[in-house]
Amino acid sequence: MGTVTIPIGPQHPALKEPAAFSITLVGERILKSDVRLGYNHRGIEKACEQRTYTQDLYLIERICGICSHAHTTTFITASEEVAGLKVPPRGLYIRTLISELERIHSHLLWLGVAGHEIGFDTLLMYSWRDREVVMDILAMLTGNRVNYGINTFGGVRRDFTAEQLAEVRKSMDVLEERTKYYIEVATSEPTLAKRLGGVGSLSHDDALRLGAVGPTARASNIQRDVRRDDTHLVYNELDFKVITDDHCDVFGRTVVRVLELMESYKLIRQIIDKMPDGPVSVKAPRRVPAGEAVARYEAPRGEDIHYVKGNGTDKPERVKVRAPTMANLAAVSKMLEDNNLADVPIVVAAIDPCFSCTDRGIQVSDLGRGRDETLAWGALRAHGIEWWRREAGVDFASLNRKLSQSLAAR
């Protein structure tokens, strides 16, 4: 039987962001798959080196539209460690509160996307309707639905009143009720079970070998949760269970996520109960001493790692971001093996991919001249100036000269 290679992406209805999967099929069976990223490179790491720590915070927040708080918290934790800052407990509690609220909205969003990928749009409509509850809570607490802007260097930017926290507690009851319903649907609906069970298998050993993180790893029965393994924020003062599942397939990943929702409700109630009084932030210095730090954080999609290196100025020397999708992508090809074409969307969606968060570098191959080289920043800049001069007749050197002359004339 002949094989056919079908492209899923860069533009495809199943993908919410551009990424290219090249799927080789025999009939409807997947023979092999190949993933190509690099359509969303935004040069954020480089841009961070040219801005102050506070400015970077707002840039880092925009790495991801869903787990924006995850990235800022990881970055700020690393930066504060370099600066030797100690955030007041109430500030940490507020960060943790937002972080769990974010997990709830991310997991509910995922549930809807998963439903959509297998043609179950009713689940999408229901879970996204309920997601509005937590979105409203986030907007009430922070002023924003997506990029909360709650973290600042040395603490958080807003304090919450007792009434606001009571409101949060009330909505947790609503969400808990709804989530119980989803757990029932996810575990008992026959077509859902048919589409999720046994699909995209990733054995315990493979998950370990390929370095899967987050719900993807936990669904392969790996006890891996940074909230417990490498305690950050105030998770050591809170009581929660690391949800694992031994189905090792998409069904297991669904179960892990919906059960994690229940844990998050529990966590949020504890956070509100235990939240201490006091200031929410300390004054941060403008300059950060030389030094480096790595911070880990359990984002809704898995372990997020940021590396920050300070050099004594108000700008970081180097920032490195490793988004959780990067760790999980290696497992996708393994998961896709020997599945059906129809399973591609749900298997890819099951790692809750965030391709634009993942794109950290891009290599452009100059196919026309057969060259394949990596340019350093300075060489790239020189190449750009030279290209504009040659191709478009724009001479930046003379423009600069003219500009400085006219400035001097004034």
Binding site: P13, Y126, R195, N340, L341, A342, V344, P345
Partner: protein, 317 residues
Amino acid sequence: MDPWSLFRSIFYILVFPGLLFLAVAGLAVEFADRRLYARFQNRQGPPWFQPLADFVKLVAKEDLFPDGADLWMFKTVPIVALTAATVSIFYIPIWGPHAAFQFDGDLVVVLYLLTLPTLCFFLGGWYSTSLYATMGAVRTLTQLFAYEVPLFIAILSPAVLAGTWSLSSMAVFYQAHPYHAFANLFLGLPVALVALLGKLEKVPFDIPDAETEIVGGVFTEYSGKLLAFFRMSIDIEAVVVSSLLAAVFLPWGMDLPVAAVLALYVVKVGFVVFMLALARSVFARLRIEQMVEFCWKWIAPAALLQLLVSIVLSGVL
């Protein structure tokens, strides 16, 4: 041919129950389906004119033709699909026990004509030569073999019980023996409804145009007027098949005054549309091999059992 009968034939073909009625009913059914689907999903749903607005917009759009497509086939199949779906209504009794035209064996012709749109989808997808359209075309045909046989058997069962293969004669028979229709209601109708989901390519059997897998399926390369014709033929097919199911499985009250029969007709078709929208809301899409397995393992035996019941009953009663 006398002028009156000629006029009547033209009226049948163009106005009622032909093109005009079918187009209006098709848009109404699409609206009802979308609205019900939306309400089941806790959404507002589209306004009543949305299907018409979509149609007008598509007709006004530019037609694009893929390189390498067989242009003649590419342009012809949507028209054939529309025509085949329209023609089959003439043999289905709607306003009384007698359809616009009838002869012994018209049931088989209707079933044949209703297979044509599906074949046209296949051909349209195949001749687009795009990867997604070809995948969709192959899936369309695979799915056809799964649901078509149960659908035929389920619809033939009432005919066997009535002892005639003419839809109009069946309607006459069931007016004389209204209780006989219950024999087909509990097995035949569910089987036909499930098969109908496959025929109309709706969730859980919307595999040939599964958006998240193969983009638009067979319709990936279609745009403008041709896509509008395809969509209209799906709407019309929905009306025709719902009417067929109503005539065959819910044949009661056909000898009432015409207005009452038409009101009953709306209720019956409404019931079928409601069931389709409900199934669409509560199920996820199956994979193609799961669909085929389900149809041959459960639906086909159920249809055969129904046929057996009808044969036995036709001997006993």
